[in-house]
Amino acid sequence: MSILSVENISKTFGGLMALMSVSFSVKQGEIYGIIGPNGSGKTTLINCITGFIKPEAGKVYFRGSNIRGWPAHKIARAGIARTFQVMRPYYSLPAYKNLIIPLWSPRARAIGGWRGGGKHGDRDTVAVDILEEIGFERDSRVPYKMASTLPTGYLKRLELARCIALRPEIIFCDEVFSGLSASEVAGMLPLIEKLKMEGITLIMVEHRLKELFKVADRVMALQFGEKIAEGHYKEVIADPRVKEAYLGSEEV
């Protein structure tokens, strides 16, 4: 059975059809990639599913219940975390303190189970542990630096770390690889695999196709708000419509 199933989501901005009846479903523990050229509606799709914007039509089933129309915090509390493409760290806090907020949230407290149970006082330790796991070198004191002083590579990882701290069932990653060097991405791939092993479902919007295809089980391609292909990445990139979308009219 699928953990998340999206049916006929549509969203318009003014006259622009940002999403046209998009449907897909994802199994638990799967890594599902979403690709598509700029402006094809990938971020809008994430926003619609996670409750940050309200779609005009369609249904979103999470573990069998329709969550469309729920407020964003309720969807997150149910177990759907997301990163922001335009990064949204707490700039006035040190990196590790950024994780205190998700660790304090009702969901993380209810689940607990971090070494030490996630009580107050332990949260700082847990936060630094999570950051270390995601590639913040503990010894170099990067976890203690102010978020406003961190370079993009770390901020991208901090986005993902905030999701992990929430102990979610599904994580939507909106271009977490962009802005990272090839070696930084290579360092993150094992972490992605590890999350998958823990049973977390990952839905990854990416422009870094080569790296995405290393981990993704299935891929969907969007163009102008429409789903144009879905399946194993080899099938998807072989699809003439996908080729055309990526290469423009040169192919024709």
Binding site: T50, F52, P71, A81, P89, I100
Partner: protein, 336 residues
């Protein structure tokens, strides 16, 4: 000419007294606790020092009421990110509530004031609830409008004593109680709020100001958090209003005066925002200053404004951050 630049370096004692190694000597203990103890002892001794000057004792009382308003404003604006000009609303609602409990329902003072704080804070929070999702200046405008609205309603319907207000509130049993009730309230809320900021919930409130979308994405209801913050802030303000009504033995329309909304902001500007302590220091400068300036008659407003402008232009960071830097760090010129 060589280029030079001012370097700021933490004093050794600051570094030594930080973190887990705290207080290994009396000197370090004094360094850490000194400013706090100084403030507390100073405030608590003030009524005794001013024994011969009853007028100035009164000024201290009013100063502490403004102090409560200033920390309430600082907390909402600089921690949670809600710019609230509701000082007058809190004072007025708190004052009228205590009058209702004390005069109409015959509660004694020591019961009426806390009841006024709780009920007043509930009223203010419920009234502001629909506006919590408004951003920036819109929330500020609403908080500024409510006192005007209350004034007009009381006038028009001639309820709650109409333009005469409610008279006959009990005063405090004696002078010392009158002084110490408000001084202790101020100290409790000042250090209480600072303590709250060090807790994880304080961090979450800060997160709301920094980035409410991320707080939402962490499964936390931002509106609930803001409502909680407004309740805390209006509770502090309403207690101040209730105290003031008993001090005057009267609750009238002047409790909704604009001063209660404006002076706290000026105080936070002068003292420096975000620490609550700066807010208190700002009030302790501003309120006595405006009393001194009474010698100048109507000209005092001009001097007052000049001083305020001076502070904003030349020390825009606020006094507290400035003094904290001098206390914790030394400066030297370094070649570059």
């Amino acid at each position: 000419m060589e280029a030079r630049r001012k370097e700021r370096i933490d004093r050794g004692i600051k570094v030594r007294s930080e973190g887990i190694y705290v207080v290994s000597s009396l000197k370090e203990m004094l360094y850490v606790a000194g400013p706090r103890v100084f403030l507390m002892a100073g405030l608590l001794l003030l009524p005794l020092v001013l024994e011969m000057a009853p007028y100035w004792k009164r000024v201290v009382n009013i100063m502490c009421v403004y102090g409560l308003l200033a920390i309430s404003f600082d907390f909402l604006a600089n921690i949670v990110g809600l710019v609230c000009l509701g000082g007058a609303m809190f004072i007025g609602v708190g004052g009228y509530m205590t009058a209702i409990f004390n005069v109409y329902l015959h509660c004694p003072v020591y019961l009426a004031i806390p009841l006024a704080g709780l009920s007043g804070a509930s009223i203010c929070t419920i009234l502001l609830l629909p506006c919590l999702s408004l951003r920036g200046v819109y929330f500020a405008i609403v908080t500024l409008m409510y006192p005007l609205l209350f004034t007009r309603i009381i006038e028009a319907l001639n309820i709650l004593g109409g333009t005469n207000g409610i008279t006959g509130l009990d005063s405090f049993p004696n002078q010392y109680l009158e002084n110490y009730v408000i001084i202790i309230l101020l100290l409790v809320f000042l250090f209480g709020l600072r303590r709250l900021m060090d807790e994880d919930i304080g961090l979450v409130l800060r997160g709301v100001k920094d980035n409410d979308q991320s707080v939402r994405a962490s499964g936390i209801n931002v509106t609930h958090l803001k409502a909680l913050a407004v309740f805390i802030a209006s509770f502090i303000g309403c207690l101040g209003g209730a105290y003031l009504a008993h001090l005057y033995m009267w609750a009238g329309l002047s409790l909704f005066a604009l001063d209660f909304s404006i002076i706290p902001i000026a105080a936070v500007t002068i003292g420096g925002g975000g620490s609550m302590l700066g807010a208190v220091i700002g009030t302790f400068i501003l309120v006595p200053l405006s009393e001194f300036l009474r010698f100048f008659g109507t000209f005092r407003i001009v001097i007052y404004c000049l001083i305020l402008t001076g502070f904003i232009v030349f020390k825009s960071e606020g006094l507290l951050p400035y003094f904290a830097r001098k206390y914790d760090q030394f400066e030297r010129w370094a070649k570059i």
